[in-house]
Symmetry: C2
Subunit: 142 residues, 2 copies
Amino acid sequence: MAKREVNPRECSLASALNVVGERWSLLALREVFYGVHRFDGIVRNTGAPRDVLAARLRTLVDGGVLRRVRYSERPPRDEYHLTEAGRELAPALLGLMRWGMRWVPGAPAGPTPFTHDCGGALDAAIVCTSCGETAPPEPDAE
Amino acid sequence: MAKREVNPRECSLASALNVVGERWSLLALREVFYGVHRFDGIVRNTGAPRDVLAARLRTLVDGGVLRRVRYSERPPRDEYHLTEAGRELAPALLGLMRWGMRWVPGAPAGPTPFTHDCGGALDAAIVCTSCGETAPPEPDAE
DNA sequence: CAGGTGAGTTGGATTTTCCGACTGACAAGG
DNA sequence: CCTTGTCAGTCGGAAAATCCAACTCACCTG
């Protein structure tokens, strides 16, 4: 018999996607990176359905990506801020943004999301953690 | 009146997510990066439902991320290969993987996905496109 | 008091997902 | 020839998620 077994590969990518792997999660995160920390602002700037956004923000908080920070007692209101883990999503997020600019026809260029102190645009790249050299994206060579 | 208007921010991230923004798309892409180019292989290694995977592969092909390459006439069978655009997703993909390793408790370390010629592990980072300097992830400073 | 803001929640219709089974074309073994 | 197996999907139906407008609650402001 031995029916075609399905053994999903153990991979941290899958784990990452459980936390930040859905459209509205990433767009919400983008807003927080841009400095929009409140629910209604995120709704307005992303267009996400309010209920779905509420759910996503919960999983982002539970996943340690965002932190709720109270900015008003009475009525109790919190805003969402990046944690250390959240801030570390910057390379992935920026990588997707820049990829969209380059490869999706009709994608709005938008204001260059982040700029370096020297004035140049920032981009995501692959670097070697030990020698620091920038490596080209070169998978299994066709 | 002026009902709370929702004007989604124009952003290349949203465009990117239209193409690669779903769980099974990214996992399928991971497999192709790993050298698994055939439908059944991708099903086995990701655990994606076959019909959903078929749909995702179609949008990846339509989005210019993958290319179908025929490897057998009779029966006609194609495998999926990365295009230039697909290869350029490496920084984003690697960024998510490495993030998962670092920040999701219980995420399998797995074999270090890519290694540099010098033997060190590769990671995604933010670099300045003009001066080449590596920048820290530092959004709106809290 | 009327109106507005902020952060959600609720109900219900619509879409997707998931799952197992099925198809069609072929190859290999007995 | 007949059975078994592989590959790349497709199909049908149940289960889950999404979308949307409307609603709530708790305030604040004029």
